[in-house]
């Protein structure tokens, strides 16, 4: 209670061993032997991974490492060929995407998926869980859901204002600029009352100014108690805000640890650079022959 | 895997239900003879459907459009040949040159649809769903223009009409039907060779597999698409002449075949030319063999049921890749 939550959380994280698959003090998401193959090719084979509650975890790795595939499997958008995973103590193995979202794990997409012909406000209202009016019979009787709808409009308005999208609330989401769509997708995900956010390359195609703004939002969300896990390529972003980094290569988890240890990790260097750091030796040999 | 299972179901279920109704399950040489005949008829039917449906599958494979007007390409091929061959207003050619001319006309028609409808609408940004509706409009136009020009009376070609059957054991086939079947098989082999050995064929397969990658490696996708439309039109026309030969020429023959074509290409795997061939063959056999137990007027219905079952059990079809279809 007295301790600063940020310090105690990251303090607890820095106390653990930076090994791939290491246990976390308070894991929210736990994966075991999750496997996904595509016609003989192993896209994902993660033996053990735990995501700490209330922290920002970055999932990095070279192209084709299987990060997005892992996201898709865990969030119910792709089926696993093996393994189990649990969220907040309850199994989520094989759960379809909509059930995963209802349990509190909400994901965004690399290419934003705005519902173009719905207005910004409608996009937000859609995301809210537990709406009485979404069932077909109650929908016919307006008084049954009107009050709830008003309350949701109020909450949506607050979120939109927070992301500076307020003035756009009645515009069709399809008319928004790319950056505005990114913000809308984040705001919309929050409307779904997530316990954990899975962000798939949130900074993809985003200009530097907006990147800073998004980073600020994400950090603030973490401070408010949200768990965030994101896939990202931009190392500055990763180093800047993550509390913990997990590295994948060729479908496997090759390293984990606080951001400052990752850059020096030999396994990580190997993953990104392949065998290139062997080449100088080869050319040295050649030079000697000549 | 799926095919033998289906065959097993088809063979046992009716027998069981017939027995349940208290009828005698047919036994003995008569049944075997009928079964053999139905099988032969089915293969014949199936290869003709295969010729017409390959084009449909290739068009879907390259541009992801289900060409609803494909049935009309078939009818137009058959009726154009009829015009050249039989019609009082026509030149009265022998069926063979008339058929060849119909194939050429079919190719031109396919090319005209590509240039006149598909390409301009895509350039205007018309989405795939709306394009699908356009092909429905096109099928309405073509079918009823044929109706006005050809009329409602079914008729046959001038040559090869009445023939005596050759005996194949207890079953029989006319020389005409046998020739058509063999020619159809040759054409199918020719298509396979085209796709595997020629440059344009390889380009077609490349565009079907991954359009962007094909374009990036220098393939002129627009040219490939034009080729596919023309090939589809030509094959459909040929199939129409064949079908008119072994059955009869009517104004809606292609439309009736369209659903069987769909069944065939989905069974075989949407987008795969070889799938279209295999699937169509199975559909033809199923349709004909169903007459062993069920009334003739239901045979198309059985083929369509196969389609629905396939979509339930294995939507990517026999030869399709297990990629997402949903």
């Amino acid at each position: 209670m007295a301790a600063d939550p940020v310090v105690s959380r990251t303090g607890r994280l820095s106390a653990i061993d930076p090994e791939p698959g290491v246990r976390k003090p308070d894991p929210l998401l736990v994966l075991d032997e999750v496997t996904r193959t595509f016609g003989g090719l192993v896209a994902v084979r993660v033996e053990h991974l735990e995501v700490q509650r209330g922290a920002i975890t970055a999932l990095i790795g070279p192209n084709g490492a299987g990060k997005t595939t892992l996201f898709n499997v865990v969030s119910g958008f792709d089926r696993a060929d093996g393994g189990r995973w649990s969220f907040d103590g309850q199994s989520l193995t094989g759960a379809p995407a909509h059930r995963v979202a209802r349990r509190g794990m909400v994901r965004t997409f690399q290419l934003t998926r705005t519902l173009a012909r719905l207005t910004v406000l409608e996009n937000m209202l859609l995301a809210a869980p537990g709406q009485r009016g979404e069932r077909v019979l109650p929908a016919l009787l307006r008084p049954l859901w009107r009050g709830q709808e008003r309350e949701l409009e109020r909450r949506a308005g607050e979120l939109l204002d927070r992301f500076r999208l307020g003035p756009l609330r009645d515009d069709h989401a399809g008319t928004l600029s790319g950056g505005q769509r990114k913000l809308l997708e984040l705001a919309r995900a929050l409307m779904a009352r997530p316990v954990m956010l899975l962000l798939d390359e949130p900074m993809a195609g985003v200009n530097p100014a907006l990147t800073q703004s998004l980073l600020g939002h994400i950090t603030q969300l973490r401070d408010e108690g949200l768990t965030v896990c994101f896939v990202e390529h931009d190392m500055d972003v990763v180093m800047g805000i993550s509390d913990w980094v997990a590295v994948m290569a060729d479908g496997h988890l090759v390293a984990e640890g606080p951001p400052h240890t990752i850059g020096r990790n030999a396994a990580v260097v190997d993953a990104y650079l392949g065998k290139r750091h062997d080449e100088p030796e080869a050319s040295e040999e050649k030079g000697e022959e000549d | 895997m799926l095919v033998p299972a289906l065959a097993l179901v088809l063979l046992t279920v009716p027998a069981i239900s017939a027995r349940a109704q208290g009828e005698e399950v047919p036994r003995g040489p008569t049944f075997a003879a009928r079964a053999l005949q139905a099988l032969i008829d089915g293969i014949q039917f199936g290869v003709i459907i295969a010729i017409t449906s390959v084009g449909l599958s290739l068009i879907f494979g390259t541009i992801h459009l289900i060409n609803f007007a494909h049935g009309e390409f078939v009818t137009i091929g058959a009726t154009f040949a009829f015009f050249l061959n039989v019609s009082a207003a026509g030149p009265g050619w022998h069926l063979i040159p008339a058929a060849l001319a119909a194939v050429v006309f079919g190719a031109l028609l396919g090319g005209a649809v590509d240039r006149g409808i598909w390409r301009p609408l895509r350039a205007r940004g018309t989405g795939l769903i709306n394009m699908f509706i356009v092909t429905i409009g096109l099928s309405l136009v073509l079918r009823h223009v044929v109706l006005v020009l050809y009329g409602t009376r079914p008729a046959s070609y001038a040559q090869y009409d009445i023939q005596s059957t050759i005996d194949l054991g207890p079953a029989g086939i006319t020389p005409r039907d046998l020739t058509v079947t063999l020619l159809a098989v040759l054409v199918l082999l020719g298509i396979a060779a085209l796709l595997q050995k020629t440059r344009i064929g390889t380009a077609v397969r490349a565009v079907s597999a991954n359009r962007d990658l094909a374009e990036a490696s220098g393939i002129d996708v627009q040219r490939v698409v034009l080729f596919v439309w023309m090939l589809g039109g030509a094959l459909a026309a040929l199939g129409g002449v064949f079908f008119g030969l072994v059955e009869i020429v009517t104004w809606d023959m292609g439309f009736k075949l369209l659903l069987l074509m769909f069944a065939g290409i989905i069974l075989g795997g949407l987008g795969s030319a070889y799938g279209a061939m295999v699937g169509s063959l199975v559909i033809g056999v199923v349709a004909q063999m169903s007459t062993l137990w069920f009334p003739v007027d239901l045979q198309y219905a059985w083929a369509l049921l196969v389609l629905i079952v396939v979509l339930l059990v294995r939507p990517q079809g026999i030869l399709g890749r297990a990629e997402r279809v949903g």
Binding site: F109, L115, A127 | Y300
Partner: protein, 330 residues
């Protein structure tokens, strides 16, 4: 050329019982295609089971009309479930093919000699609509104003038909402007996004299919009552194509789109029909080119041309918004 006769025919078609039937069927299709994005090409199949459900109950089994109505609705629900189970998880184009196939398969089964004891086979069923007409408060005779006159029977069907259109339209408006409608529309826009926000897309698609199918079945019943017969050849895929044409014409995804579309569609179709026949009779058009028996075919061909032009130049239809159509990337 007798323009008053042509106009009279056109007006009578535009507001007559058939226009009401098609408006109703198109409203069901609008829920499927316009609002949920389901490419249901088997709407005629729902009309078939509805019409036959009523006819079989009354004609084959001597049941009362209200039971027939319930029977038709029950058949529609079963059909929707059977259709939806395998197909709603598939892509749009697969759904299109399967629903056409299903509609045709149904028609062939109802038409077959196998089913004849129940469905009347090729001949269909008659004499099941008497209860309906006995309910009519309108005295026998013709009624109308100016060029537009209807028999008392047709008038009764029209009144009930358009009343149903009104009721269904009202229900649709309530549903579409509710949170349920919002989820339905999100399924149309991007079902992956909808799932990522916790919506069970499959269940919503199924609900849409059932509701729209029941509406189609009711339309089929009205049509059967109007013609006082059910015949399998009245339920071919051409009907679905007409429905799509008039839906796109009026504006898919608008509550009144099917209504506007149906009225205009039948008005124009009838206008052309009468005008063509008269032109041929008066020899403005040579009978060698088109004979009067071919006018029907010419009509269909013109419908096809209209559909192509509509989709090419005004895909949003009369009531739709071009801006929204551009946003949809259809």
């Amino acid at each position: 050329m007798d323009f008053s006769a042509i106009l009279s025919d056109a007006l009578r078609s535009g507001i007559g019982p058939i226009a009401a039937v098609y408006a109703l069927a198109a409203m069901g299709l609008n829920l499927h295609f316009g609002y949920t994005g389901l490419l249901n090409f088997g709407q005629v199949g729902f009309m078939l089971v509805g019409g036959y459900g009523l006819a079989i109950t009354v004609s084959t089994y001597d049941g009362p009309m209200w039971l027939g109505v319930l029977g038709g609705i029950a058949c529609a629900i079963v059909l929707a479930l059977l259709l939806g189970l395998p197909t709603l998880r598939l892509r749009a184009d697969y759904l299109a093919i399967t629903t056409i196939a299903a509609g045709e398969t149904l028609r062939l089964f109802y038409r077959s000699s196998w089913a004849e004891p129940v469905t009347g086979g090729v001949f269909g069923l008659q004499r099941f609509a008497n209860d309906f007409y006995e309910l009519s408060p309108i005295d026998p005779g013709t009624y109308g104003v100016w060029l537009v006159r209807f028999s008392s029977r047709d008038l009764w069907v029209m009144i009930v038909g358009w009343a149903l259109v009104l009721v269904v339209g009202g229900l649709m408006a309530l549903l579409i402007h509710s949170p349920w409608g919002r989820v339905i529309r999100s399924v149309r826009e991007d079902e992956v996004a909808a799932r990522s926000l916790g919506k069970n897309v499959y269940a919503y698609k199924m609900q849409s299919l059932v509701l729209g199918g029941v509406i189609g079945a009711v339309a089929g019943m009205m049509q059967a009552i109007q013609v006082q017969s059910v015949n399998p050849d009245n339920y071919d895929p051409g009907v679905t194509f007409f429905l799509y044409t008039l839906l796109v014409l009026g504006g898919a995804g608008r509550i009144l789109g099917p209504v506007v579309g149906s009225i205009l569609f039948w008005f124009v179709l009838s206008f052309l029909d009468s005008a063509l026949r008269q032109a041929i009779d008066a020899e403005y058009i040579s009978p060698d080119l088109i004979s009067t028996s071919e006018v029907g075919a010419v009509r269909f061909a013109l419908v096809g041309v209209a559909l192509i032009l509509l989709v090419a130049f005004r895909p949003q239809g009369i009531l739709g918004s071009r801006k929204e159509m551009l946003l949809s990337g259809r």
